[in-house]
Amino acid sequence: MSDDSESLKKHMKTYTLVGGALLFFTLVTVAMSYVHLGSHGMNIFVGMVIATIKAGLVALIFMHLNHEKRTIYRILLFTFFFALGLMALTLLALGDPVFFPGFNK
């Protein structure tokens, strides 16, 4: 990263823009939750996509992941796959008999 004051001042500008974008996306999230997108699952999907975009902005710009060293990407790659596995494990619960039709009847 170049540390001269010119580029730092440019950073300030980027941060302001990103902050504005994040606030804007928050409004979009709230607004979209009141719009019917066919099914509730679709609403959840869209909500999560917007949240992921916001999270991406925070991670890339605020946390400087757009220009980091390789070691950190490597750490995060591991984290990504492990976290994915963790979420996938939960889905095994769908095999629980409570989900079989008529189980609670």
């Binding site: 946390m63 950190i72 609670n104």
Partner: protein
Amino acid sequence: MQIPFEVKPRPDTGLWNAKIGIWLFLASEVMLFGGLFSGYVFLRLGAEAVPDYFWPQGELDVKWGAINTAVLILSSVFVVYAWVQLKLRNYAKYQFWMALVVLCALAFLGIKSVEYYGKFTHYSVRLKDESVVQGHKLNDLQKFGKVSKVTVNLEKADLSFLKYIPEEDRADLKFKPALDDEIQRQKNALEALRNEAAPTENTATREAEKLAKTISKGIPELESALAELERVAAQGAMILNSGSLGSVRDAINAGREVEHKVSMAKNALANVATRAANEKAKAEWVGNADPQKERFKANALQPVYAWDEAGGISSIEFAPSKPFGVEVKRSKLRKPGNERIVFRDFTALDGELAEESRYLVVEELDKVDLRSFEDPTQAKVFQYIAEHASSHHGEGEKGGAAPEGSAHHLTSAEIQEEFLKHSAEETEKAEHHGYEPEPRKTHVMALEHVPLRVPWEEVKFYSNFAPKLNTYYAIYFSLTGLHGLHVLIGASVLAWFLFFGKKLYDKDPEHMANRVEVGGLFWHFVDLVWIFLFPLLYLL
């Protein structure tokens, strides 16, 4: 010794120590929150499979959630501003932005506290027929009076009931172990034995003499046990003297002593009686010309008094010196009731529940939820909403005509009618826009602070909006609580940098900038978690 690579990056990784440290830590944080998010998905999917449990989507106040999202985003922007100012070696401006970050954090926590407080003072009541109402100002106080008997479990007692006795009842209240009946019974038994031992015309035989001797031998032993029992019973008034919870252990120990003496006395009686019966049977055997083995057995093995299993008594009754009452929240009771209540320590009180306490009262209902009903007119809840309004209102206005236009309570029928109208409107609205009507709209209606008064027998479950209410609030408080803790700790670290950073800044400004960068990375992560929490918990 100078620690290497605190400021200068390591040549191989290109990173200084704290940076790689914080990223490793954040990676573990991802897994921590990932586990909880995973739990959220699990509970949400599971909720689909449970009839009559509806995921409380859209129950939280979106306004507060959105404001808090904005607050965190702003603080994230401010923290990078502060870092840039440090890089520009502009300490005053750094402090300015950092102060704003800390203020944002405090604002976030303040709003969160307001939300939590709102949840803890808001109640949900589920009736036996699965209709649900929500509201404020719930009264579950049980006024239980005319207590005439206190049964204390000697194993479990902590005597917590004492602290629920109102001040005016406490004066001169004493408790006496209710042993009078037991003592009388023992006395009668003793008397009966004495009579058996007394000489009569028929005592000329050697065997009868022997019997009298045997019984007489046991009597002093028995008398001393009885005296001990009487002594402990007389002392008992001191055992449970009201108010002093410190004497709880003493009370229990003394109670055990009473129990022990009762057993001792009974067993002494049984012992002598068994021996007496044996003697009697032997005498008959000898005196009878044609003795029957069966008869001998029957007589010999049937003592007058059954042997008492020592240690069998686990509770003891106390009689209060005067009738008293307790006022206790229903949730503190193991078993509520109209004639008998049982506390969590198994202490049972026999008395009478006040008429007003036989109803659960919620003064300001704000929502009725009938999603469990195909046909909402079947729900019983409406009759309890109106009952209260009409009966109380009517009584209060006796003797004078109600002033025109005074507060009008909606009647049961009116509220039910309103509900049906609301339901029809929402269905129509959904169909008009061409989507399936949602039960959370058509079968849920806001109420304008009407009161509820329902007999306890009709109540299935009630709770404030705490983790125990349902799985949603359990995961809600887990996730937001852990996140709030991160905000608190992150803000503390940043506040430390704000107030105590000058020394390091003067020594090595780049080192200080690195610290703020690392603190900032943590702060962004906290923001990032909230970005997912907000839509998941408040919106979807």
